[in-house]
């Protein structure tokens, strides 16, 4: 009897489940719709730049980038070909690459040394010096622009790749020290103590233990610092007018915006592809760093 009953009722139960599921999907439809529309709206500006860069100068002048949807045959890579033949822009991209790599490696290395000291070495005034570092986190770099301008002039390194790397190093450093110190301090003490008992020098501990163990934090820091230096405009405009990182090169074209979209659009898109590729490749670390560093 019981068996028969359950056999009879089973399909009904399934039906109810399906109905509930359909109901749930229907109830969620507005949410899906809103998210689809908002997501597309958020993508549209970037796609607009991309499609603009795929049009010939004449077509850019005659109609908006969305004409490419009705006439896909308008697509041309001629703007990109001309861009890659443009030596000035290409050397700007190279300059930016050098600055971004230097401006990433240097502060992370120096910051890791200091972070290790703050986390595991004992010295007088440790907490106080660290508090100063935390205070420096939010000092606007505008506070340094003028004196460093004079300093660079006196040292004779004004408008060089080195001057830009050093500036980025300095202003990336408080965050690097802060993040790495907090990460290093979380490493189990036992590992460290046993290395010390084995007679390893602090330098050896730093290179053989801390740096490898710190890779997750170093990775997210590296992404941040790389994006920051790659995307920087303010420092580049102040100390790199002739060194011409790519942001300065694009910016100098911006004053005649309208007549030169066929240069600005592909140049901007190429300059944006590198950070975007870094972002997609290391998205996980990026978000981690973001969550760790939301105090900056």
């Amino acid at each position: 009897m019981a068996v028969a009953e359950s056999q009879v009722r089973a399909p009904v139960v399934i039906d109810e489940r399906v109905a509930a599921r359909i109901l749930r999907i229907v109830a969620k439809a507005p949410v899906h719709l809103v998210l689809v529309v908002v997501g597309l709206l958020w993508l549209m500006p970037t796609l607009g730049l991309f499609f603009t860069s795929l049009l010939s100068p004449a077509d850019i002048g005659s109609a908006g980038w969305w004409q490419i949807f009705s006439e896909p045959s308008l697509t041309t890579f001629s703007s990109y070909r001309r861009l890659f033949e443009n030596d000035a822009i290409m050397s700007s991209l190279l300059t930016t690459t050098i600055i971004a790599i230097g401006g990433t490696v240097l502060p992370i290395f120096i910051g890791a040394l200091a972070g290790f000291a703050f986390a595991w070495l004992d010295f007088p005034g440790r907490d106080w010096i660290f508090i100063v570092v935390i205070a420096l986190l939010v000092v606007p770099l505008q506070m340094a622009l003028i004196p460093i301008f004079s300093l660079y002039n006196n040292l004779g390194i004004f408008d060089t790749v080195l001057s830009l790397i050093l500036f980025h190093t300095a202003f990336g450093l408080p965050f690097a020290i802060f993040l790495l110190r907090n990460f290093f301090i979380g490493i189990p003490k036992d590992i460290l103590e046993s290395a010390r008992i084995d007679g390893a020098s602090e330098l050896r501990i730093f290179f053989r233990l801390m740096l490898p163990l710190g890779i997750p934090a170093i990775a997210s820091l590296a992404i941040f610092q790389f994006l920051w230096t790659w995307n920087d405009l303010l420092v580049a405009l102040t100390y790199g007018r002739d060194t011409r990182p790519v942001t300065v090169a694009i910016f100098s074209q911006l004053s005649e915006f309208g007549s030169n979209v066929e240069l600005i659009a592909p140049a901007s898109f190429v300059s944006l592809m590198i950070p975007l590729a870094v972002f997609f490749a290391f998205q996980r670390y990026f978000v981690q760093g973001l969550l760790a560093g939301s105090v900056k």
């Binding site: 998210l35 997501g39 958020w42 500006p45 970037t46 730049l49 300059s271």
Partner: protein
């Protein structure tokens, strides 16, 4: 008892060895710290002090001027605009970005494809604000055929009030009078069986609607009123008010039939020959008029980068960049809220809104304040996006403190005294956050 072991007087050589060992440890620490402290000292600490001192000197740096630079900061129009604009930024952006981030985070929790959405919204964070500026310059182009935002507005406007068939025209004879804004009315009263001739001139050939053919004067119909709207212009002459060869009909014109009180009782649209007809008209006297909608102008586009709208436009671009940051941080906070707390609130009979308002938001409090404060600092220092989105012609209207500092110091004016004062002002504004950070750390230790 065990304490006595350490309390025991050590042997004579030990303290010196211990002190030496400790000193060596300090030396090692100093070695690790030195590069960082030198860089921080030379590039941040020394310049900060130097800038504060410099702000009390004039542009040459030789004459002490007291607080003159700070006075200039609050009396120079350009700088006052910058401070006002920055106040708008501070008032609007942190709250809006946090709110948008919260909404997105809550909504994405409900769908399975949240990663795709988050990636789309978060992506602008990775690109430079300069590139974002270029992107929005293209979005904001004024011509609706070029700028996407104005194109969207134009198509929305075309639904509400479509662009008319003609941009402007004059009556060809005094029989037709009125204005394009209120409609051109044929003064002659009409009855059933009448034929109305609505002749227009002063229409450039380029503005004759597409598909227009030779105008035709229609035959009268028994129970209705017919008529023609045409371009009453014949190359080389012709008689005004008469439909002649080589004169084109005007299609797409909106014709109104008005009763004696002037109220519109029916409307018709002309065909390619300019012919219209009101069939089945009640007995009575009527007038015909070319409706104002015929002359509805096309949408010219909002001047987003003009003096009036520049700050809201730049803010919109900035929110586009930063909403993803708020969303991701808040979503992480949301994920950390224990599910059972929310479930308990729901089983207690709370509606979704109540649960959100009374449980989710309070639990997210710390995360929301972190996002808000981060945005506050960012907005105080905002520079790149303003200088990139605002064209030279309206940069003065879009000015903010960091931009004013840069333009005063390096943008041609080269007044390092005033520039330093602006920088110090900016520093003072972020000082509360600096103290907050320090206090938070001190509590941790």
């Amino acid at each position: 008892m065990s304490g006595s072991i350490t309390a025991e007087p050590p042997t004579a050589g030990a303290p010196r060895a211990a002190r030496r060992a400790r000193l060596r440890d300090y030396g090692v620490a100093a070695g690790f710290l030195a590069p960082a402290l030198i860089v921080l000292g030379v590039w941040i600490v020394y310049p900060t002090i130097r800038t504060i001192i410099r702000s009390f000197f004039d542009r040459t740096g030789e004459t002490f001027v007291g607080i003159d630079n700070y006075e200039a900061l609050f009396t120079t129009d350009l700088l006052v605009t910058a401070i006002k604009n920055n106040a708008i930024w501070v008032g609007v952006v942190p709250a809006l970005v946090t709110a948008i981030g919260l909404i997105f985070a809550v909504l994405t929790e409900r769908v399975r494809w949240s990663v795709a959405f988050k990636t789309a919204v978060f992506m602008p964070m990775a690109i430079s604000l300069l590139a974002a500026g270029v992107i929005w310059r293209i979005m904001y182009l004024q011509d609706p055929d070029q700028g996407a935002i104005n194109a969207l507005l134009a198509s929305a406007k075309n639904v509400v009030s479509p662009t008319g068939a003609l941009s402007a025209a004059n009556p060809s004879t005094p029989a037709l009078s009125g204005s394009p804004e209120r409609g051109l009315v044929l003064q002659r009263a009409l009855e059933r069986g009448s034929v109305a001739r609505l002749g227009l001139t002063a229409i450039p050939p380029a503005e004759v609607p597409e598909g227009a053919v030779q105008a035709v004067e229609p035959k009268p119909i028994e129970n209705g009123i017919t008529g023609v709207v045409w371009r009453d212009f014949k190359p080389g002459g012709g008689t005004p008010g008469r439909v002649e060869s080589q004169e084109l009909g005007l299609p797409g014109v909106n014709v109104e039939l008005r009763d004696e009180s002037g109220k519109s009782v029916a409307t018709a649209t002309t065909d390619a020959r300019g012919v219209f007809a009101f069939e089945e008209v009640e007995e009575g006297r009527y007038r015909t008029a070319i409706g104002a909608t015929t002359f509805e102008r096309p949408f010219g586009g909002v001047s987003w980068l003009g003096a009036d709208l520049i700050t809201p436009s730049v803010i919109m671009a900035y929110i586009w960049v930063w909403a993803g940051f708020a969303m991701v941080v808040i979503a992480a906070g949301l994920a950390a809220i224990p599910r059972d707390v929310l479930e308990a609130a729901r089983t207690d009979g709370g509606t979704e809104w109540q649960v959100f308002r009374r449980v989710t938001v309070p639990l997210l409090g710390p995360v929301l304040s972190v996002v808000f404060i981060t945005m506050l600092i960012n907005v105080l220092k905002v520079f790149d996006i303003v200088i990139s989105v605002a064209p030279g012609s309206t940069q003065a209207e879009a000015n903010v403190i960091a931009l004013a500092m840069w333009r005063t110091s390096f943008g041609g004016v080269n007044d390092f005294g005033l520039g330093s004062a602006i920088a110090v002002f900016l520093f003072i504004l972020v000082l509360p956050v600096l103290l907050l950070n320090v206090r938070r750390f001190k509590r941790e230790v």
